[in-house]
Every structure is written in C-alpha cells, then in structure tokens.
C-alpha cells in the first residue's frame, strides 16, 4: 500500500531570485566549424578517402 503523501508547493513559494535569467532558447547553430560533405554515398565516400589521405591515415 502506498503511504507517501505528496506536498504541493506554489512556484511563488520558492525563492527564485538571484539566479540567471534566460532570454532565449534555440537549437544549436549548425556546423559552426564542420565542413559538411554532401552528395551521393559514393561521392561522400570519395571525399572522405581524400580527407583520410590528406590527414595521413590512409
């Protein structure tokens, strides 16, 4: 048997003063840094292989 009681508080009862204020929420700006590779799978794969070669891992 459940015996726990749940107390309800008004938000006003909590002191929220002194904290940061949020003025805006947004999705992260895409690709601040990443250079996006697009095309067909084969084209993307070719570009990735070029990059691997440029970086000396292939």
């Amino acid at each position: 048997m459940k015996t726990t009681t749940i107390d309800e508080l008004d938000v006003e009862a909590l002191n929220l003063s002194g904290g940061p204020t949020v003025s805006r929420m947004f999705l992260p700006e895409t690709s601040e840094k990443a250079t996006l590779i697009s095309g067909t799978e084969a084209e993307i794969a070719d570009r990735l292989i070029e990059i691997f070669k440029e970086l000396g891992v292939l």
Partner: protein
C-alpha cells in the same frame, strides 16, 4: 564583489587539462566585459610549474600536500574560503567530474547562483549554455552577484587559453585542512585491456546510432580497412556490445587520435570532453542539429548504414 574572473585550473598527474585552457579563453572575453582581471586558481602540491603557459593576468597558487590530488572535500574547503573572501564576478569550473562536483556544492554552501554547461560569453556579458545534453542552447544574462559557471568544451579553442609568457604567480597560504572526510590514498591506473584507445592514432567510434550489436561489424570492417580501432560512446558499452576498455568519455578514456570518426554519436558533453584532444574529428550523423557537428572539422548527414559499407568497399578497392 570585485570584477575579476576566476578560473579553477584542472590538472591530473602533472598535466593541465584542456578544459582549463578553454576556460581561460572564455574568461578573457568575460573580463573585458566586466573590467576585471583573469585569475587562474591553481590548487596542488609542488605544482606551481603548471602555471607556465596559462594565459591569464595572475595565478593564485595554493599549495598543500593534501591538494596533490583532487578530492572534493579539500577543494571545497579551500575554494569556499577563497571565493567567499575575494568575491570575484564569476568563477569558471570545467563541466567535468571535478568541476560539477565542487561547483554545485559551493553554490549551495555559498548561496551563489550557478550556470551549468556554459559554452560562450558575448562581449555584452551574455552567456550561452547547453541544455538537454547540447540539443538545446539557452542564452541569458549573468545574475548580479558572484556567479559560478561550469564550462563545456567547444566554445573556444584550448590554444586561445595558452600563452608563451609566464604569468605572475601569487602564492597564498592554504587553509588548515583537517578533518577531511576523504583522503586519496592511491591512484590506480585503469587496467589496459585488449587495446589502449588513448594511444591509438585512428579511432572509428560508434554510438547509439549503430542500433544493434550485430551492426558493430560495420564499424569493425571500416576500422580494419583503414587500419584503425573501434571505440564507442557509453550506450554501446552499457549494452555490453564492446568491452569497457573501448569507452570514450567522462566515465572512460580521453583520446587524442589523429582522426576521430564519430559514427552515430550525438556529441553529449560527457563524451565530448574526452575527444577535444583529437587532431581532426569527422562526424557521420543524420541529425544536422547534433552537437557533434559543432566540434567536428568535417561532417556528413548521410545515413551510416548507407555510407559506411560503401566507404569500406572503396577503401578496400583502392588498396
């Protein structure tokens, strides 16, 4: 309250962590707005040599044998006194195991506001921070009092927080550290199992996007063709699809490969903190808004199941 920005320097086994340099870079912009100085706070024992390349106006150095290694208890005691006395405009901590631990307790004990997962500060002092593991950003105003901020990587490059000039170091007496509840007795290096991913130059890292254990073979085949090693984010390890030794992140290993190929990994802060030392990060993720793209140098939104087998085959053909 003064207008200085304190940066709590994180270091482990004689090395300053990259997040410390990221924070120093962030602090520089914030100090320009507040009109104060950038002060690096270094806690340690015989560790003043670590201050060498910190890009700051001054280092406050507190030395004590019990500060040789991090314990939450000792750090709290020292920083409680220091922040309470100096009342800087802001105190930056890493959003790391260490920083999140100490900052949250100090926020409660000093009754100071705290911003979690801070990323950047604008020239008007506005902050941005990550919420929901980086899937949403929030922008806001710093509160008027001293504020504690835990900072995630990605907003600044570690090099921006480094300097060739030695900063001025001011040694402060550490408080008496007695009655500590936790004392570090021994540092135990994690066992290196099959492979030490922290030393591998090429990591093909798989995340939840890989969906099933059977699909791990897609990454293994690519790794084999490229001559790399497969590592993973936590959900993959938690499922038991790869051994714990392959875990990249806060609960696993920090890695610094030449190339880190993140396949179906979103880029949560606990993962990202361990890959910032990579020379080049490449991300394959169908979600253009995934935070990993903020860190990656190259990226594609192709479906990993379509792209990776084609890539593997082309690499094999080219050999």
């Amino acid at each position: 309250m003064n207008q200085d920005i304190f940066v709590i320097i994180e270091h482990l086994r004689g090395q300053v962590a990259d997040i410390s340099f990221v924070m120093l870079a962030a602090a520089r912009g914030l100090a320009q707005w507040s009109g104060g100085k950038v002060i690096a706070v270094l806690l340690g024992h015989n560790a003043d040599g670590l201050s060498g390349n910190l890009n700051c106006d001054q280092v406050l150095y507190l030395d004590h044998p019990l500060l040789a290694d991090f314990t939450s208890d000792a750090y709290q005691k020292v920083l409680f006194g220091l922040i309470g006395e100096k009342q800087p405009r802001a105190v930056l901590f890493g959003h790391t195991t260490i920083g999140a631990d100490v900052a949250s307790i100090l926020s409660a004990r000093l009754d100071l506001p705290m911003i979690s997962s801070g990323r950047t500060f604008a020239s008007d002092g506005k902050f941005t921070c990550q919420i929901c593991g980086g899937k949403i950003m929030a922008e806001g105003e710093l509160p008027g009092s001293t504020v504690l901020v835990t900072m995630v990587p990605g907003g600044y490059k570690p090099e921006q927080g480094q300097s060739a000039q030695n900063p001025q170091v001011l040694s402060l007496p550490a408080p008496i550290l007695e009655d500590l509840k936790v004392v570090l007795k021994q540092y135990i290096e994690p066992e290196v199992a099959d492979i030490d991913i922290s030393r591998e130059p090429l990591l093909i890292s798989v995340g939840r996007g890989i969906q099933t254990q059977d699909n791990i073979s897609i990454a293994e085949e690519l790794a084999e063709a490229l001559g790399g090693v497969v590592s993973a984010s936590r959900p993959v390890i938690d499922q038991g699809w790869l051994p714990t030794s392959r875990l990249v992140g806060k609960s696993g290993k920090a890695v610094k490969p030449k190339v880190y190929l993140a396949v179906g990994i979103s880029g949560a802060p606990e993962h990202v903190e361990a890959i910032t030392g990579s020379e080049t990060i490449i991300a394959i993720n169908t979600d253009i808004n995934a935070p990993i793209f903020n860190l990656a140098k190259y990226g594609t939104t192709a479906d990993l199941f379509d792209l990776v087998p084609v890539l593997t085959q082309k690499i094999r053909d080219a050999k």
